[in-house]
């Protein structure tokens, strides 16, 4: 199978992220490959192990290519970085445009992505790429079975209060949720390969886009400002002995917080 995986390097969940100014964040320099993207890479590699073929990881990022190296270290065959100064300030719809423009002439059976990137937490790029390519998509899958790529896939996705199983023809795009697979820990040989890999760069002109197709002026949504999350007042520890403390808590929830 010919599989593409959309990946992104994001701040580690432990990293400090603070508002510096209205339009600027201070982000601690601790990055890792978006966890859901690793799940997607794992899914792609398992299909490759079953059916043969090729797994290519793609990222749209002017600076960080570690997610691509991560993909190679896990076992991906190829990696591509889309980078161009004009991409600065692009919204997710423009990112999707870049990816879809590159992919539209490529033969592929499947595109996989993470459920969302753990930075803007938006989950827009995956379904938008599918729309632009005119292929079906399913979000947030936790099960994936393919017996014969020509006959399509059986996928399970999480819905409120249950799990829904769908049949879907290929090619398609699926975004992957935790629980689908546990991403493998890379073997040292692949780590060395990833360290030495020359990452191929693709700019806008190479895929026939111009600077007006992307960037802040073509963005559909605009950031007005960042602000810190509202702070909770300090905790009120109920110091009475058991079981009096339980009675006090219930009373507070009813009469003060009024949530019961």
């Amino acid at each position: 199978m010919e599989i593409y995986v959309l990946v992104k390097q994001v701040p580690d969940p432990e990293a400090m992220v603070k508002v510096k100014t209205d339009s600027e964040l201070e982000i601690e320099n601790k990055y890792f490959t978006n966890f859901f993207d690793e799940v997607a890479i794992e899914a792609a590699l398992r299909l490759k192990e079953k059916f043969g073929g090729k797994v290519t990881v793609l990222t749209v990022d002017n600076r960080r290519v570690d997610a691509l190296r991560r993909g190679i270290s896990m076992g991906a065959d190829d990696a591509l970085q889309f980078s161009d100064p004009a991409l600065e300030g692009s919204d997710p719809f423009s990112i999707a445009k870049v990816l879809a423009t590159y992919l539209k002439d490529k033969p592929f059976d499947l595109i996989l992505a993470g459920r969302q990137a753990m930075d803007d937490d938006a989950g827009i790029v995956g379904p938008s790429v599918a729309e632009l390519l005119g292929i079906p998509h399913v979000n947030s899958i936790i099960g994936l079975e393919i017996e014969d790529p020509k006959k399509g896939a059986k996928v399970t996705r999480e819905v409120e209060g249950g799990k829904e199983t769908l049949s879907c023809p290929l090619p398609a795009l699926f975004t992957c949720q935790k629980g689908l697979y546990t991403p493998r820990i890379p073997q040292v040989m692949n780590v060395m390969k990833a360290m030495k890999a020359q990452i191929k760069k693709v700019d806008l002109s190479a895929i026939g886009l111009t600077t007006t197709d992307v960037g802040p002026h073509s963005a559909k949504i605009k950031l007005n400002r960042y602000f810190p999350p509202p702070k909770r007042p300090p905790v009120r520890i109920i110091k009475d002995d058991f079981p009096e403390n339980v009675k006090v808590l219930v009373k507070l929830l009813r009469e003060e917080a009024k949530v019961i």
């Binding site: 990055y31 820990i185 040292v188």
Partner: protein, 386 residues
């Protein structure tokens, strides 16, 4: 631009990969490993399957052939996890296989090194005896030349991986009267039905690093063939010991960095959270000073250690520098774990909190690669041009 402190993008990626591997494979089990005090065979096999045991060996034997700086990055990240597991792994990667990789013939490398890199055979190195440790000249284990090989007699103590070792690189003297000049290294395997070899003596129970197994090895007139003599010529053992000890000391320093940082980051979280007199205790100057002091010493230590790694990599003589850096890093770490304990107050004394484990684990740093008393005596003597 002769002076450059940056890591390459590739090295940063390597660090991130090891960090992630440690976070996923080792971190969730650190407490359990410490409490069980057993060698974790399942973790060993899982870890060995990734291939890192060949970190510094040639690719044709299944190794990675990395440079010294890459190796030190690996050690620094690995040591964040279980200290005991770190000792078992570094024994296998560095000390336990160093002389075999350097001096073993092809047959020995195929038979010992290849399975060692796969984690299928466990190796160790034997320096310490009951009457000698940092004082290598006092080594009494005797190697006597016989027809076609050597006979080795003696007892080695404090042997990391000793109780489970399949093979050992043994430091022995050809004549106790020669002191340091009599020292040589020999490959000895565990006694089996068809091979003469060492047997295990008593196992030790340790304060920290508890999942690495440590004990005595007994050599009772063991015969080894000539090819098991590991060296270019007789009498050069002390020179080789100096060379491997450079790497061992910087590696030990790396684990000091990791333990100190983990302990202090843990203490920072505690201090930011623990309320006393109406404020998190990290708001108080006496607590803040502990962090500031640690930070200053830590950064100095780390820079010094990576400079030593760079010197080893570029084959610049650096015996004194490596000793100094190991000494500095270890003392920094002692400060860090001690102050982390104090920041935790009475809670430090409970095994529910991890801080006591850092404190216990760190203590081994004082002895590995030479006690500080011996190191300092030597370094002071060099400084005074005595």
């Amino acid at each position: 631009m002769a002076l450059d402190f940056t890591f390459t993008e590739e090295q940063e990626f390597f660090r991130q990969t090891i960090r992630d591997t440690v976070n996923r494979m080792i971190m969730p089990r650190v407490k359990e490993l410490d409490e069980k005090e057993e060698f974790p065979w399942d973790l060993w096999k899982e870890f060995a399957s990734l291939g890192y045991l060949g970190l510094r060996h040639e690719e044709k034997y299944g190794g990675m052939g990395t440079d010294t700086i890459t190796q030190m990055i690996f050690y620094e990240e690995l040591a964040r996890g279980s200290c005991g597991f770190f000792m078992a792994v570094t024994m296998q990667i560095l000390m336990g296989t160093y002389f075999i990789g350097r001096f073993g013939n092809e047959e020995i490398k195929q038979r010992i090194l290849v399975p060692a890199i796969k984690g299928e055979k466990i190796g160790t190195i034997c320096f310490t005896e009951d009457q000698s440790g940092s004082d290598l000249g006092g080594t009494r284990t005797l190697a006597t030349k016989v027809d076609g090989g050597w006979r080795i007699t003696g007892r080695k103590q404090w042997i990391t991986n000793g109780p489970i070792a399949d093979f050992a690189t043994v430091m022995a003297t050809i004549d106790t009267k020669l002191g340091l000049k009599g020292l040589n290294f020999f490959l000895v395997e565990r006694k089996s039905e068809n091979r003469d070899g060492f047997v295990s003596g008593q196992r030790l129970h340790k304060l920290g690093s508890r999942c690495s197994v440590t004990g005595e090895l007994v050599f009772d007139n063991v015969f080894v063939p000539d090819e098991n003599f590991l060296g270019e010529e007789i009498g050069k053992g002390v020179q080789y010991a100096g060379e491997i000890l450079n790497e061992v000391r910087v590696m030990t320093g790396m684990s000091a960095l990791a333990i100190a940082k983990e302990a202090m980051e843990d203490a920072r979280q505690y201090a930011n959270n623990r309320i006393a007199f109406g404020n998190p205790i990290s708001k108080y100057q006496l607590i803040r000073e502990k962090f500031a002091k640690f930070w200053a010493w830590y950064e100095a230590s780390r820079t010094f250690l990576y400079r030593c790694a760079w010197m080893i990599q570029n084959k610049i003589p650096c015996i004194n520098e490596c000793m100094l850096a190991k000494y500095h890093a270890t003392e920094m770490c002692m400060y860090a774990v001690e102050e982390a304990m104090r920041i935790y107050g009475g809670n430090a004394f409970c095994t529910e909190y991890p801080v006591q484990r850092f404190w216990r684990d760190a203590k081994f740093l004082l002895y590995g690669g030479g006690t500080h008393e011996v190191l300092c005596d030597y370094l002071g003597r060099v400084f005074c041009k005595d």
